[in-house]
Symmetry: C2
Subunit: 165 residues, 2 copies
Amino acid sequence: MRILGIDPGTGILGFGVVEVSATKRGEFKMVDAGVVTTPAHTPHDERLEDIFNSLTEIIEATKPDVCSVEKLFFTKNITTAMSVAEARGVALLVARQHQVPIFEYTPPQIKQTLTGYGKADKKQVQEMVRVQLGLKDVPKPDDCADALAAAITHAVMTQGVPQAG
Amino acid sequence: MRILGIDPGTGILGFGVVEVSATKRGEFKMVDAGVVTTPAHTPHDERLEDIFNSLTEIIEATKPDVCSVEKLFFTKNITTAMSVAEARGVALLVARQHQVPIFEYTPPQIKQTLTGYGKADKKQVQEMVRVQLGLKDVPKPDDCADALAAAITHAVMTQGVPQAG
């Protein structure tokens, strides 16, 4: 099973593709990962189009079986939240257009799954992403590691792989 | 100038196309209006795809010069707000894909423009939509009238037509 993890955002959107072994439980491999970025002050609708075009290319190139998207979970800046939600709508649209089923996880679910602790800090989660994928370094930038964390969460949730930590 | 007004929503999205006379200031004509609806319990990603497909058809059929979209302006239900924002992101994307410039107005701006009072109630706004477009009845449902109100707001804002009320 191949999982495309997405960490939605307008200025920067992280993605990470993880391949889960069909035979070896808990064996994950990173296939691809990166970010979709647009320069500062790019008009919002242009950003949405960039996200649409880039995600379409990514899905067509990596052919994921499922998509795992970080669920918005805000309490503070409503304007930022709205603009992230607009980008998220475009991401969900592209997955749907390619018949890729979508699963959604909140940040506490992702933290819990990766580290065994729902309030783990960013660094702990990123370190577990590195360990689970057998990488030398933590993937950079953060949005990229977050997207991989979402993908790993779905793998663990559906395959019942023992939690780390 | 032809203006496509959009009132974003996931379960129901209103649209209304208004033609503004190039010679007679303040002369508006309704070209088309309606709603994009999906049955209750339709999966969210399927709704986003319906909105994408329907708006693409509407823009291709009516060829608007600009798009006027109601700006989200929430204080209460964050979950609803997020899901409306996701639909809004898809609407902005479609406009962008067709090179239609986007203008955004908050509900108080729309109310102020249509009725001369930023806290006017829904009924007053709808009645002014009816009057401005020379219609016999208020367009139904509400989402449709709201979309036309957004279109009229842009017309008034850019053409400096005297405010009603």
